[in-house]
């Protein structure tokens, strides 16, 4: 069982600790109902931004259509939950959502990923609008502009946590593997990658589908957090919000994305009392980070168990020598 090496054990321990600490804070009412909503939102943003970072930061393909795939997940899950208002309904809806979103991504990716740069951004923006307009006009199934309401509120810290872990495991394992390296090679130099035998269209498509898959998970969580959803929730601005998190945290850094989602989420919450001023302060904060840290908070850097263990053992060795 090579999966159970000390690095993976370290990650497991860290995630279990985070889970129980937050769970205890909720039990102790330190994180009250109001803060819990912020927490859920941050969790969704983390999942969405991780998927978008795989597409933009690791594959180098600029996508502006992430909210579209999120809405597919949200609507699939909402429709299922209205039929079966319990956890089974949610899980079935989640499953349906990821399947539909992945299929749509696959169909969309094949023609659009031939485009480069700005053209790809416009095409993906168009696709997310098409998805939104389609949902708007699906009649009774989606209930048009009024949206769907009356879903049970099932989302809690446990569900969100598992959503994040699922997305993290899929994305990190993918990046740190041979197909993942092939994908990163596309970002580094597409011509060289192709000359090294990498089918660039294939790996761009895989990254795009994984991105849509995780966006759909976040969508399902969204549908079960608020008892109503409408197409307007998943417009262009939602895609831009996710993009901001990705750029803020650093293109190509999973750790950066998580830190950015948490800090922007908290900043947003702290700025609530300022009303209209909120967006101005938020914008200034973003400009400041782009001026002082143009590569994002963490640039390419990652939190690595290997380095952490390395540092700990270095600290320990001189101690032993001293005791001798």
């Amino acid at each position: 069982m090579k999966q159970l090496n000390k690095y993976n054990a370290g990650w497991l321990a860290l995630s279990v600790i985070i889970y129980f600490v937050v769970q205890m804070l909720i039990q102790a009412d330190v994180i009250d109902y109001y803060y819990q909503i912020t927490l859920m939102n941050i969790c969704m943003d983390i999942i969405l931004a991780l998927g978008l970072n795989l597409i933009i930061g690791f594959t180098g393909q600029f996508s502006l259509g992430h909210a579209g795939f999120m809405s597919i997940g949200a609507y699939c899950c909402a429709i299922m939950m209205l039929k079966m208002p319990d956890l089974t309904g949610f899980l079935l809806g989640l499953l349906l959502g990821v399947i539909v979103a992945s299929l749509v991504a696959l169909i969309v990716a094949i023609p659009t990923l031939r485009l480069k740069g700005d053209y790809l951004a416009i095409a993906t923006l168009g696709i997310s609008e098409i998805i939104r307009i389609a949902i708007l006009n699906m009649g009774d199934l989606t209930n048009g502009a009024a949206g769907l309401s009356g879903m049970p509120i099932l989302n809690n810290w446990t569900l969100s946590f598992f959503g994040i872990m699922l997305s993290l495991i899929i994305i990190v394992n993918y990046i740190k593997s041979s197909p993942g390296r092939a994908t990163i090679a596309i970002r580094e130099d597409e011509i060289a990658a192709e000359s090294m035998g990498i089918n660039t269209t294939k790996y761009k498509t895989i990254a795009f589908v994984i991105g849509a898959f995780t966006a759909s998970i976040a969508g399902s969580l969204y549908a079960s957090s608020f008892s109503m959803i409408k197409p307007d929730n998943f417009g262009f601005m939602k895609s831009v919000d996710i993009l901001i998190i990705v750029v803020f945290g650093g293109l190509g850094s999973v750790t950066g994305t998580i830190i950015a989602a948490i800090s922007l989420g908290i900043l947003n919450m702290l700025l609530q009392p300022f009303g209209q001023l909120r967006m101005i302060i938020y914008a200034i904060a973003l400009i400041a980070i782009m001026v002082f840290k143009p590569g994002g908070l963490l640039q390419h850097k990652e939190l690595s168990m290997k380095k952490l263990f390395g540092r700990l053992s270095k600290k320990n060795t001189p101690k032993k020598e001293a005791s001798k």
């Binding site: 593997s177 197909p179 390296r181 130099d189 060289a192 090294m196 035998g197």
Partner: protein
């Protein structure tokens, strides 16, 4: 037939014939030079053979396991899978990645673990990953780069970057290796070392190496046959001795009376 046979290969960019009616052949296990003045179309010819450009007309046929296969207009990654690898004149490494990752990426096409095996970390993934790492390190040791495996490619000295490009191309397990000015920008000592290495690689791996080079001593020293391009046309072909004597080649390089 020969390992690779090119007939009447032509590439036009608008009104300019960058390569026109070029014929040439590669046998297995030989070292061939391709020379010519600047702008003669040498790199364009490489780009045509490796699928970066689609030929305007002409035929590129490769013999694979006794069967003839046309390579015109085939995508670069398919051509690499058939056994043609290359380096670039203006180094194109994956700069932000480590030396080891650069080589591992080139080995990806032969990797056995697929996307799902990688995501779910199946035993197959660990086996294939470890095998690839060992192979990559042994390739890197040819140029003594194995002790720099964790450095970022962009931080390597210029000469090492050129060598890493050769290692990366070798990692695709080629039958024919195209080297586009491997000694460009190197000092005479480095060029001499590189010459030895290229010869050794060609013999150890039993592959065909095609070399574009401006350093005549290098080309004359190691190539068995030499092709000469000028203005997109193949003006001469022969052994180094024949090429040195060829009046057309002397005129192309030194100029002559009109």
């Amino acid at each position: 037939m020969s390992l690779l046979q090119v007939e009447k290969l032509t590439k036009n960019f608008g009104g300019l014939a960058a390569v026109s009616m070029v014929d040439f052949k590669l046998e297995s296990n030989e070292l061939v030079g391709l020379i010519g003045p600047n702008g003669a179309g040498k790199t364009t010819l490489f780009n045509l053979l490796t699928g970066v450009y689609v030929p305007t007309s002409g035929e590129i046929v490769m013999e694979i396991d006794g069967k003839k296969e046309r390579l015109n207009g085939v995508k670069p990654y398919v051509i690499t899978k058939k056994g043609l690898a290359r380096t670039f004149q203006n180094i194109r490494l994956f700069k932000e990645l480590t030396v080891l990752d650069n080589v591992l990426i080139a080995m990806h096409q032969n990797s056995k673990a697929g996307v799902l095996a990688s995501i779910f970390r199946l035993p197959k993934y660990y086996r294939s990953e470890e095998g690839m790492r060992q192979e990559a390190l042994s390739l890197l040791s040819i140029f003594d780069l194995d002790n720099k495996q964790q450095e970022l490619a962009k931080n390597l000295p210029y000469g090492d970057q050129r060598c890493l490009e050769i290692v990366r191309a070798l990692a695709t397990k080629p039958k024919i290796l195209f080297l586009d000015e491997p000694a460009a920008g190197m000092n005479p000592q480095e060029t001499a070392d590189l010459t030895k290495q290229i010869r050794k690689i060609q013999q150890d791996f039993k592959i065909t190496v095609v070399l574009i080079e401006h350093d005549m001593s290098l080309v004359m020293d190691i190539c068995e046959r030499i092709y000469v391009l000028e203005y997109g046309r193949m003006i001469a072909h022969g052994t180094p001795g024949e090429i040195k004597q060829n009046p057309k080649v002397i005129k192309a390089y030194l100029g002559g009376e009109e």
